[in-house]
Point group: C2
Chain length 492, copies 2
């Protein structure tokens, strides 16, 4: 294992790419734009999945599974949605290979096996799911329909980066149907809040809740709610979205129900999703020049124990003490690894677990055994302490909580100090160029101004914060009237 | 909800298709050959996944995720594997749709967005995974590599049936790499045993462990181990396979390691998988003319409680008693549903939960409240009993175990009574035509005889049982020498 990680100061983007690979989270595959999620990275994703799945079930949702493919005619039924995804989708046109007679041992697409209708590999599942809901909803008694799917989706992105933007990614997508507009809006907001609670409480990443402008809205939605996070380089990252679909998909797929008066109405829809992109946010929020820093709630290994010894006899004694400790941790559901490999030196192991972001490292040598102590090191602030054997388990348990809280607070204080209010376009550009982060500014509410600002500065409106204060003002760009400040930023 | 289920005696195949849909397990989608797994069906699959995942982790495996697509040149690298899957695979050839100018609002494949190399939607992931393993394995210290993936795969089957044979299905696929042939064979056998333990212990389906003949072997494997189950109509179903890949994929993808002496060797491989096909086996092993019968270990709802009342006051009293009971069940991790909807009559609810295979139903009316009793009904044998309030929880807990055991024993006794030894081809045909089930017969060991028998009778060799007794004999078809009996059957 070679560390030699590029420093964040030098090249943040290079640091990220190297870290994702060196920490064994993911790597590029032999398939353009598609990644391999390696066991260590996947173990973190599994923890995220388990927690989200629990939160979805607690809010009344069930999982189901819908087809990977969407026939073209179905795909194009909701026009805005189709338009939004048409330019970057993988299309299946044939269903058989045959021997290529000009190249022995090689295969070619069999021209006689062309599909009557092309199939789109789902970039998102509204079309296939709403075509199914048509048969599931007849009466108000069938509503609400609260369904989630864990799945892979494909978007043919031209420039890809591990986790942040890949041609194939893993996600969950919720798709719900309701009897009233109000209920659907409540669901949209509920799921935005579930995402915010998860990202803040488990990933230790503070988020701003808000609404997207029309330009940034999901194709086919009437309103997109989002949670926006801020990375260490001052760029924003959209961490989750929840869409109020109005009756758009219900109308496109003719999904109606008989209301309590027996009258036919179109249902109201929502959809919401988070993806393996969150893995990128996790890395870029907490990690440092030494490697990953993982919040204890998502760390596959929360505590690693490394023996320090010169002789086999010393190791025997340490093994006995540690075995007891390990079983105490396990009883408290603390995930612990005892690394007593003799093929590697302690220093090598220290560097490895630092790189992999293990929150707490315990070292134990012959002196510790004699003194009844352990050396406990924190990954988040790299501090160490000698802790007595008595109460070590409770000490570590509370330390894990402290680390979780500390990571959130650190990220929060960075984020809060990187929301800058500006009142002129000069100031706006200056902040973007130097300090970066979120820039809070007045905007006239038009897509034209938004586009112009994006062209000139690469900054987009990340969201109209839900909790923004009432403050009328003047658009920094056009001088037109503004109903309140919005958050701009350059973004991933 | 209309029951009107076709009887098994009348048309077993129709009964199955109807039941899968009526019990809300799955349905056909608008995409040829692809199914929608509905929430109730998916909840059973989730329980299967959770248990299997636990068993894989206990045997040292980690999960990871590899791309959905396989470039054609990678796909064809292991020739036998490629040949085995080439005839039924979905092929992505383009990556963009554009507006169809001849049909406003419609889309067409953009001919300018043709991929340089076609991508095969994975029918199985050996190719993509072994192309990755090349970079993961350098030394004997990197071995064994023990990885599993939960994923969707696509095989372009022409005739599909819900769960049993679908163009897209969900599965897990284990892919391991080892330093020695012996270790790889041990892994292959270990995972066959894990599957057998799962299918017998959790699905309550008895299986025969065995080895496939060369004809029925996985394309690219040196040996395929399998577990074979028997459905109620006397047809066999392959419930899981575990393949010893020899060095075939290591050679095709040049995966080598330095052994302890520093010499380069190709690694040895295995792969193993079970799929949503198991859902079909579950339905066809236990269910009856009234609907699903689910083993308690996999039932999303293990106990349903239905109140029987005429007045609101009666319901109030029942609610209080049941609420207490529900929380007692939950403490024991028994999954319980209290259905006190007032929109449906008890008879309707009884039929619904019978159809959905809920193992235990408790009914409670005013008389029960007075007498301190409950009416407890079993789904497996449709028997009922009046049980005193005291000890009801323990009674139900042990009842669930009894039902689990009873289902297995019932299936075992059916299976055992449907293994028929025959010594002539006349007998063989007679058994297949009338009694069906497994037919144990001598075979000369040649693919030609196997093919001929299949042509004439549609029966295939399901496996060479691992525990077959030593018994030389004469092939029922060719009269040639046989080293022992093999199991034939018609199969799903």
């Amino acid at each position: 294992m070679s560390k030699n990680l590029t420093k964040r100061e030098e090249d943040y983007s290079k640091w990220y790419n190297e870290l994702v690979v060196k920490a064994d989270l993911a790597e590029n595959s032999g398939v353009r734009g598609c990644m391999v999620i390696k066991p260590y990275g996947y173990a973190i994703w599994e923890k995220m999945q388990a927690q989200l799945d629990k939160m979805f079930k607690e809010t009344g949702h069930s999982n189901a599974y819908f087809p990977l493919f969407v026939p073209k005619s179905m795909f194009e039924a909701e026009e805005k949605n189709a338009e939004g995804f048409a330019k970057e989708c993988a299309i299946v046109t044939h269903y058989r290979l045959k021997n290529d007679e000009t190249r022995p041992g090689k295969l070619m697409v069999d021209p006689n096996a062309k599909l009557e209708e092309e199939l789109i590999v789902r970039p998102t599942s509204e079309a296939i799911i709403w075509s199914t809901y048509k048969n599931w909803v007849q009466s108000y008694r069938d509503l609400p329909l609260l369904i989630n799917q864990w799945a892979n989706v494909v978007r043919w992105e031209m420039r890809t980066r591990l986790f942040l933007r890949t041609a194939e990614f893993l996600w969950q997508e919720g798709h719900t149907a309701h009897a009233t507009r109000q209920e659907a809006i409540e669901e949209t907001e509920r799921m935005m809040n579930v995402y915010a609670d998860f990202v803040e409480g488990f990933m230790a990443i503070p988020v701003v809740k808000g609404i997207k402008t029309a330009n940034e809205r999901f194709a086919g939605a009437d309103e997109t709610y989002c949670i926006e996070a801020l990375m260490q380089d001052g760029k924003a990252l959209q961490a989750g979205t929840s869409h109020f679909l109005g009756q758009n998909f219900a109308k496109a797929f003719d999904v109606k129900f008989a209301n309590q008066e027996g009258k036919q109405e179109h249902v109201w829809g929502t959809s919401w999703g988070v993806s393996t992109r969150l893995m990128g946010a996790l890395v870029m929020t907490h990690s440092d020049d030494n490697g990953l820093v993982l919040p204890p709630n998502l760390a596959p290994i929360q505590v690693v124990i490394v023996p320090i010894h010169r002789t086999d006899e010393q190791l025997d004694v340490i093994n006995r003490v540690v075995d007891e400790l390990v079983s105490k941790f396990r009883k408290l559901n603390i995930s612990v690894k005892y690394d007593n490999r003799t093929t590697q030196k302690p220093g090598f192991k220290f560097a490895e677990y630092e790189l992999k972001g293990v929150p707490v490292r315990i070292a134990v040598g012959p002196n510790d055994i004699e003194n009844g102590t352990f050396e406990v090191a924190r990954r988040d602030n790299l501090s160490k302490e000698i802790v007595s054997k008595d109460g070590i388990v409770e000490y570590v348990q509370s330390l894990l909580e402290q680390i979780q809280g500390n990571l959130f607070n650190k990220a929060l204080s960075y984020r809060n100090s990187h929301i800058t209010e500006v009142n002129s376009f000069e100031e706006f550009k200056e902040v973007l160029d130097n300090k970066a982060g979120f820039v809070s500014a007045h905007w006239d509410g038009t897509p034209e101004t938004e586009e112009k600002i994006k062209e000139l500065t690469k900054a987009t409106i990340r969201c109209i914060p839900l909790d923004r204060k009432k403050e009328e003002g003047i658009c920094i760009f056009s001088g037109g009237k503004s109903a309140g400040r919005v958050l701009f930023a350059k973004a991933y």
